[in-house]
């Protein structure tokens, strides 16, 4: 029997969001491969970016779209971002702040502190009615070292797609797209693995070459990895190609696979937003298998509108966001 087990030591067990967009709660139990579907504007990408931000301990606007966003790991550790709305009576708040301000005297640094509080008092006085919109966010975790044991990588294909056409002139005078530069950066990481650990590198190289060749044979290309460098040839005449010679879909695929390869040495949550963009149906169908072959140590969380992603054995991995949400209490 083939079973799909999570091979990682640390992975996400559950995602909980309270008051997402101020109107719904999310409870999402995760497996090794998770595909989130649903209508546009339902919060799928927000959830994806919130996971990434929270795992990186980076408070951003997406996290603030939920009152509480909580990641529960399999080892019992919880990482929680909370937005605390200022719920205090404004007059009482001004009185309290004034008391604090009056009590501060003395040093230069306390003077700065006093100025800050006085500014806040002025803000509150000027915006009495909207003071409730002031949000103070905080991240707390039951274990502060959690970011050291779980890595998170977000691949936004929408951005990647734009980056595949946006050309910049490098210092060497050559025109390169942002995606080309990102691929170069990933290639460099692969070279670093090659320089640091030959054993790990050989294993990664074997898996990466095998998967890329299986995919690229469809466009009659073969791929070799020499000392971390990607070498592409036409199958029919052995002519060489460079990365910028490839189509945007091909370059996106190489980038995704390099990301999967470079994160395979540590437990990684790989987050992908609409990876189907620019990919032929047969590549979409092979995407999850390809990534999990290259990197068996990752938990995949994918947001998509494409059924093709699920066609090869992943029909039990998708969840519609409407099935994991409930109305938030008013």
């Amino acid at each position: 029997m083939v079973t799909v087990e999570i091979k990682m030591n640390t992975f996400i067990d559950e995602i909980r969001a309270n008051d997402l967009f101020g109107k719904k709660n999310i409870i999402w139990k995760l497996k090794s491969v998770n595909v989130l579907v649903g209508k546009n504007g339902s919060g799928k990408s927000t959830i994806l970016r919130s996971i990434n931000s929270l795992l990186k301990r980076d408070t951003n606007e997406d996290l603030k779209k939920s009152r509480v966003f909580n990641i529960l790991l399999n080892n019992g550790i919880s990482i929680k971002h909370t937005v605390n709305e200022l719920n205090t009576d404004t007059d009482k708040l001004i009185a309290s702040l004034s008391e604090i301000s009056k009590s501060i005297r003395g040093t230069q640094s306390s003077s700065k502190q006093k100025n800050k509080i006085d500014r806040l008092i002025r803000d509150v006085l000027e915006n009495k009615n909207s003071v409730r919109d002031i949000k103070i966010s905080s991240i707390e975790s039951t274990n502060d070292d959690v970011h050291e044991v779980i890595n998170s990588e977000l691949i936004s294909t929408v951005n990647m797609n734009a980056n595949s056409v946006m050309a910049l002139i490098g210092s060497d005078g050559e025109s390169k797209t942002i995606l080309d530069m990102e691929i170069s950066a990933e290639s460099k990481k692969l070279k670093d693995i090659f320089n640091n650990s030959n054993e790990s590198y050989l294993e990664i190289k074997k898996r990466l070459e095998s998967v890329l060749n299986e995919l690229f044979i469809e466009s009659r290309k073969s791929i070799k990895i020499n000392n971390g460098e990607i070498v592409i040839q036409w199958v029919d005449n052995n002519g060489y190609l460079t990365i910028p010679n490839l189509s945007s879909g091909e370059r996106q695929l190489i980038y995704i696979m390099l990301k999967a390869a470079n994160t395979s040495l540590e437990d990684t949550i790989l987050l992908m937003d609409e990876p189907e963009i620019s990919l032929h149906l047969s590549w979409q169908e092979k995407l999850i298998d390809s990534i999990t072959q290259i990197n068996p140590n990752c938990q995949l969380i994918i947001v998509t509108h494409s059924p093709a992603i699920l066609m090869k054995g992943w029909m039990d991995s998708f969840v519609d966001i409407k099935n994991i949400e409930t109305m938030a209490d008013k």
Partner: protein
């Protein structure tokens, strides 16, 4: 805005999808291990390409996954499933009904793929291919037919209760009809009666699943329906749980026969080699490696095409051809 579930597997969406892929349609099977069997069936029904794919990496969940999408079965999304008890108990649940009524849902018509792949005709052919000097000679058909006749009445009673919507424990039923391991000795003769205990308990088993007197006419009609579906006192074995049939009925017999075959062939080697112990040892290794690997029963079953001529496979092909 259309919901994902509305276009996922929908006929209109898949029609375009199939054009892009250059295929006639998809066939969704339960798991990876079902692909080869169903490819054989599909190739005997359709000309041209169908993409045979599977629902879940965990084949044991495949049918459950596909059940959620049964209504989407179409010419572009054929579902190919083990019947389990759905074919013989069409009113057991709403899924059973749909499986039996949708022409684009293919089912095994026996309990499962294993029931067809281990049909007596297939077992006999594969055993006849396991040959070094002498063939294995054993009446597999009558062994399975004998077992069928012993369990037939109990099985029909059990199925009747299920058809009536009564929740029964399938494992409990199968435990009651588990034969003893067959003992095979010289000339492939059976030296015990593996069905003895079942025979002595059969009245209790039937009593356990008995129906109410007022259901008698219903029962007779149902029994007739089962006969029309191919479930008789000679074929009952193919309608019990397929894994149970494989693990507890067919394979114990096959293993015992192959074990006796190895013993017989090895005895011949010993006679040929006389007192040359090293030669005996070398020949034994070679012989057993050949039997276990080159002509292994599992690999012979895998490549055997007689399964597509078994009555169940022929019915699937006829129903959808």
């Amino acid at each position: 805005m259309t919901e994902f579930n509305d276009y996922f597997l929908s006929e209109s969406y898949l029609e375009s999808y199939c054009i892009i892929k250059g295929i006639k349609g998809f066939v969704f099977v339960e798991g990876l291990k079902d692909i080869s069997f169903w490819r054989g069936i599909i190739e005997r029904i359709y000309d041209g390409d169908h993409c045979i794919t599977y629902a879940s990496k965990d084949g044991t969940r495949g049918k459950t996954v596909l059940k959620a999408h049964l209504s989407k079965a179409s010419q572009f999304a054929i579902f190919a499933l083990d019947s389990d008890f759905d074919y013989v108990c069409p009113n057991n649940n709403t899924y059973s009904k749909e499986i039996n009524e949708n022409p684009f849902i293919f089912q095994t018509l026996a309990y499962s793929k294993e029931s067809i792949c281990l049909h007596h005709s297939v077992i006999e052919k594969c055993l006849s291919d396991i040959r070094v000097t002498e063939p294995i000679e054993f009446p597999v058909e009558s062994y399975l037919s004998n077992y069928s006749s012993i369990i037939y009445d109990a099985l029909v009673l059990f199925l009747f209760r299920k058809e009536k919507g009564i929740i029964l424990n399938d494992d409990e039923f199968h435990k009651k009809i588990k034969p003893d391991a067959p003992s095979i000795e010289h000339n492939y003769s059976l030296t015990n009666d593996p069905f003895n205990e079942i025979k002595s308990n059969i009245n209790d088993i039937q009593e356990f699943y008995k129906y109410q007197n007022e259901e008698h006419l219903d029962f007779l009609a149902y029994k007739k329906e089962l006969i029309d579906k191919g479930l008789t006192n000679e074929t009952a074995v193919y309608f019990i749980n397929g894994h149970f049939f494989e693990d507890s009925v067919a394979m114990p017999l096959i293993k015992a026969l192959i074990s006796e075959f190895k013993k017989t062939e090895f005895n011949k080697v010993k006679v040929e080699c006389g007192s040359k112990t090293q030669l005996i040892s070398d020949r034994k290794t070679e012989l057993f490696e050949y039997i276990d690997n080159v002509i292994s029963f599992d690999s012979l079953v895998q490549i055997n095409t007689d399964k597509y001529n078994s009555p169940f496979a022929l019915d699937i092909i006829k129903n959808h051809g």
